[in-house]
């Protein structure tokens, strides 16, 4: 795999809308050409060359391209939007909407990630070693079809409304998530260590949520249906058809 390193020099106050930072935009290009690629900031555009110190090599096709971003990228939005292959490694924190509409490939965040990561993603993999924000793997604003495929893994904690309207794919959170995990969920799978506030699986009608915490209070709109493999099983949301499955460790 060819590695291209983008080292952050200085990010403007207005932040960046960097949907152009993804492997398929960098392949078969020289460093000079990559420096000329534009990203939006505020009401204008600036080149990558003025933000990053760029070094390394580019590959011939996207699946062999690895992008490493060094420094604090928490003001950069939309990295890897709709990316179709390759790998992005972020050494620090990252801003909102990482890997939105992602199709395939891999994104690794060594720091913390912001809100809306993996929104409406179709495939690929996102790994966050720190904490993640709200609306992870959910739908974009206005629709109720969330994440359709792929995997998201968070080592730390996550925010609220994880997997809103999720239809497929898999989300794993080792730490604690905030309220409304898997609301309007219709498919896919969420595994979460614990939840801060309840209202888990609100309006869910399909899919599966597992909770590792034994002290978890199952909300009233779930009904117990049995137990299997060390997990108590509940179906819900009962105000809908109750096709969703909630598992709580015994």
């Amino acid at each position: 795999m060819m590695e291209l390193v983008l080292e952050i020099k200085k990010i403007p106050k207005t932040g960046l809308e960097a949907e152009t930072i993804k492997p398929e935009n960098f392949v078969n290009k020289s460093i000079k050409e990559i420096e000329k690629i534009e990203v939006c900031s505020g009401n204008g555009k600036i080149t990558l060359g003025s933000i990053f110190k760029i070094s390394g090599k580019t590959a011939k096709n996207p699946s062999e391209q690895k992008i490493v971003i060094v420094g604090d990228a928490s003001k950069i939005k939309r990295i890897g939007e709709a990316m179709s292959g390759g790998e992005i490694l972020l050494k620090g924190d990252v801003g909102p909407r990482l890997g939105e509409f992602m199709v395939s490939g891999k994104i690794i965040v060594e720091g913390n990630a912001d809100n809306w990561i993996g929104t409406s993603m179709n495939g690929g993999e996102i790994i966050v070693k720190g904490n993640a924000g709200d609306y992870m793997g959910s739908s974009i604003r206005g629709t109720n079809r969330g994440m359709r495929g792929g995997k998201i893994l968070v080592d730390g904690n996550a925010g609220g409304e994880i997997g809103y309207g999720m239809v497929g794919g898999e989300i794993t959170i080792n730490g604690t998530a905030d309220s409304f995990v898997g609301s309007y969920m219709r498919g896919g799978k969420i595994v979460v260590g614990n939840v801060l506030m309840n209202r888990i699986g609100f309006s869910m009608n399909g899919g599966e949520i597992s909770i590792i915490d034994k002290t978890f209070n199952v909300p009233f709109y779930f009904r117990k249906i049995g137990e299997e493999g060390g997990f108590m099983q509940y179906s819900g949301d009962q105000s809908f058809d109750g096709k969703g499955l909630l598992k709580v460790q015994k």
Binding site: I140, R141, G142, T143
Partner: protein, 526 residues
């Protein structure tokens, strides 16, 4: 500034020019016979020249479309970047105002009609219309469910109704009268739905037919250039063609029917939904009082928005989509529901066929206007695609074969061999709507306004009409090489009315104080 267009192939039904090669000279915003200054030369050899397009029914401004923009953030994933000093914009089925103006200009349009303005929201509508560049505009006033209109008709005060309509048109600076399911909203307020033309409206001793007759009478007395613009009762329901036929026999002189496709449905459930375009078009062909626009379904993920709130309630329950419903005090209601049309859906596929059948089976195309009832049946940017379906049997057959098989069983689209010519396309997009609207529109002849579109001919008609090579608006080149190069503002037309009925104005003062949320001085558009 002057322009000399050389050797263009002109199609202009207004002046009966069918594919004649000629030069067109433009100076000071008009087409002229000779130029006084050194012109900019446009070589249009082998290119097709038409006058500016006219869209008779397109929801581009006002409170409903704006509420739709708020309701559907997901519609905004399409962006237009700012360049050449133009505005940026976003939106697919409901683009922002500037983007709307640019997109219409790029297709060669120069006149748009916003067909549904609730009187109290006229200020908002004019605000948005003034931000829609590169086109001239007009707006129609919603009066079909207005309390005072219904009351005057119920009391038999036809002179007072005429004066009230005149006052309303002058006050709101609008161009004509629009009726949306007359009486249906008034009935819905009392829990009734699917109002038919002969159903009594609660609390008023009248029927929708009386409202149509009353407002047509007012339009005739006021000598309005555009006849009443009617969205028939029962729009969108299966089996509505029977009541549509009843309603189509009502007018005394003239009536324009909006998006007729939505009123040509047979069947007694969604399962056996079928096309009744043949019955409907038979009536249109023999009744000289009727004109219509199509409301062609384009099978896109679009937004339905109409002042027919009862139907939107029904649609949201049918599709489980999000729904916004509004009551506009004493005047009307409105509803908004997103609707993803799909060719795999048996009903949507037949709806697609009905619009095309209506155009292709019409005997006299000067009664027919092309529209998608933007954004209800599809966004206006799909007009080129509709033209490609109308101009080639092969193209529409190929498309129909990719749809749900119901389209072949429950419509006769594949048995129609007619293919429209460029002259006929110019008729349904230019001369017919202009004549029905009664605007000053002289086509391509000396003295006419210089609104001109020049297209590069292509076998792929969608490609040909998607972007004009050159567009001239008010005598200025605004589109060059398929790019919008500059933005100028058009004018907004309104009916010029004189109101002299002091008694009515005194009464309205009291009425506003008692029942409206605004005073009369805040109601007037100035």
């Amino acid at each position: 500034m002057s322009i000399h267009i050389k050797n263009a192939t002109v199609y202009d039904p207004v002046n009966k020019i069918d594919g004649e090669v000629m030069d067109v000279l433009v100076e000071n915003g008009r087409i002229v016979t000779k130029l006084d200054t050194t012109p900019q030369i446009i070589d249009a050899k082998g290119k097709v020249l038409m006058s500016g397009g006219v869209d008779i029914h397109t929801h581009i401004a006002g409170p409903a479309i704006n509420a739709g923009r708020l309701l559907r953030p997901e519609d905004k994933t399409i962006f237009l970047e700012s360049k050449n000093g133009l505005h940026s914009g976003s939106g697919f089925s409901m683009p922002s105002t500037f983007m709307t103006g640019y997109a219409y200009a790029l297709m060669g349009y120069s006149f748009l009609v916003e067909p549904a303005v609730p009187p109290i929201k006229a200020k908002h509508t004019h605000d948005e219309l003034s931000d829609t560049p590169l086109v001239d505009k007009a707006a129609l006033l919603l009066l079909g469910n207005n309390y005072l209109v219904a009351k005057n008709i119920a009391d038999g005060n036809h002179d007072k109704l005429r004066d009230y309509v005149a006052w309303m048109l002058a006050t709101t600076k609008t161009y004509g009268i629009k009726l949306v399911s007359p009486g249906a909203y008034l009935s819905w307020l009392w829990g009734k739905n699917k109002t038919k033309p002969k159903d009594a409206i609660p609390k008023f001793d009248i029927t929708p037919s009386d409202i149509i007759a009353g407002l047509e009478d007012a339009a005739i007395k006021l000598k309005l250039p555009h006849p009443i613009h009617v969205h028939l009762n029962g729009m969108g329901y299966y089996g509505n063609y029977v009541s549509s036929l009843d309603e189509m026999k009502l007018p005394k002189e003239r009536m324009h029917i909006a998006h007729l496709q939505y009123n040509s449905y047979g069947g007694d459930s969604w399962k056996n939904f079928e096309s009744k375009a043949d019955e409907i078009i038979k009536e249109v062909n023999k009744n000289a009082k009727l004109t219509f626009d199509v409301g062609q379904v384009t099978l896109d993920n679009t937004t339905t928005l109409t002042a027919d709130s009862p139907f939107e309630q029904y649609l949201s329950q049918l599709t489980h989509q999000k729904w916004s419903s509004r009551d506009v005090e004493l005047e009307n209601g409105s509803g908004i529901v997103p609707y993803p049309y799909s060719g795999k859906n048996s009903v949507n596929a037949v709806q697609w066929a009905i619009g095309l059948e209506l155009v292709l089976m019409a005997k006299d195309l000067s009664k027919v206007c092309l529209s998608t009832d933007h954004p209800n049946a599809g966004p206006f940017i799909r007009y080129p695609r509709i033209i490609s379906w109308l101009m080639s049997k092969k193209v529409r057959e190929k498309f129909a074969n990719g749809l749900n098989e119901s389209v072949l069983k429950r419509s006769s689209i594949n048995s129609i061999n007619r293919e429209l010519t460029l002259y006929e396309i110019a008729t349904i997009t230019r001369s017919a709507p202009a004549r029905i609207l009664g605007i000053k529109y002289d086509g391509i002849k000396p003295g006419a306004d210089a609104n001109i579109a020049i297209y590069t001919p292509d076998d792929d008609k969608e490609k040909m009409f998607s972007a004009a090579e050159y567009v001239i608006f008010n005598g200025e080149v605004v589109v060059k090489n398929k790019n919008v190069v500059r933005s100028i503002n058009g004018k907004t037309l309104h009916a010029s009315m004189e109101t002299k009925n002091p008694e009515l104005e005194r009464e309205l003062q009291t009425f506003f104080r008692r029942y409206y949320s605004v005073g009369i001085s805040n109601y007037v558009v100035s």
